[in-house]
């Protein structure tokens, strides 16, 4: 079946512009996560959704970052007034509702590489 998809694959933007990154989770997956991978760094958690609500947005680095999820499916990560330090790969993951195992296996998309010039 189809995996997690993200668009665009690559985005180059000028400093100060706003950008929107999109994530389409696997159909039926209730949880959705955003991570950021900066050069030479591991993945840094940004926010996660359970359905349309965001119980944990503790990783958003500043108020320039926001995310929403509509219809329990597609999510958009918005970065306002982009800065050069926002340059990174933004990865999205989703997980199914079955939590009998006590953990939720996350399936990752291919990411969006954002470059702020």
């Amino acid at each position: 079946g189809a995996g997690v998809s993200q668009s665009p694959s690559n985005k180059v933007t000028e400093k100060g512009k706003d950008v929107e990154l999109r994530c389409d989770p696997i159909s039926g997956h209730t949880a959705l996560y955003w991570y950021r991978q900066s050069l030479g760094q591991g993945l840094e958690f940004l926010i996660y959704f359970q359905g349309n609500s965001a119980p944990d947005k503790s990783g958003l680095p500043s108020d320039r970052f926001s995310a929403e999820r509509t219809g329990g499916s597609v999510s958009t990560l918005t970065i306002q007034r982009t800065q050069q330090e926002d340059s990174a790969v933004y990865l999205c993951a989703s997980s199914p509702p079955d939590l009998l195992a006590g953990y939720n296996e996350q399936y990752f998309g291919p990411g969006t590489r954002l470059t702020v010039t």
Binding site: T30, A31, L43, F45, L91, A93, Y103, F108, P110
Partner: protein
Amino acid sequence: AQTVTQSQPEMSVQEAETVTLSCTYDTSENNYYLFWYKQPPSRQMILVIRQEAYKQQNATENRFSVNFQKAAKSFSLKISDSQLGDTAMYFCAFMKHVATGTASKLTFGTGTRLQVTL
């Protein structure tokens, strides 16, 4: 808060040889899960292996196995019979146990770049 440390930024191994990637973590949780993910140049994160903290037996998946030392908070990955396709970044990750109906984030290390050579 949890932290995950990978102290080997880069490793190299010859094809068909065995290599071990190191990972240590710090947590006050008693129930949790540990993972190794592979990230090839395509950027796609692929789950390699998972270990439940309550299990004493080390997880294995074909050529991949772990050495889980709970008291030492150590979780290394052994790749046997290395193949060229194993060339990738490898990330160690931690997730705490969650109640049904909730979800939890992954906490990642900074990764180890593995190069398999002929």
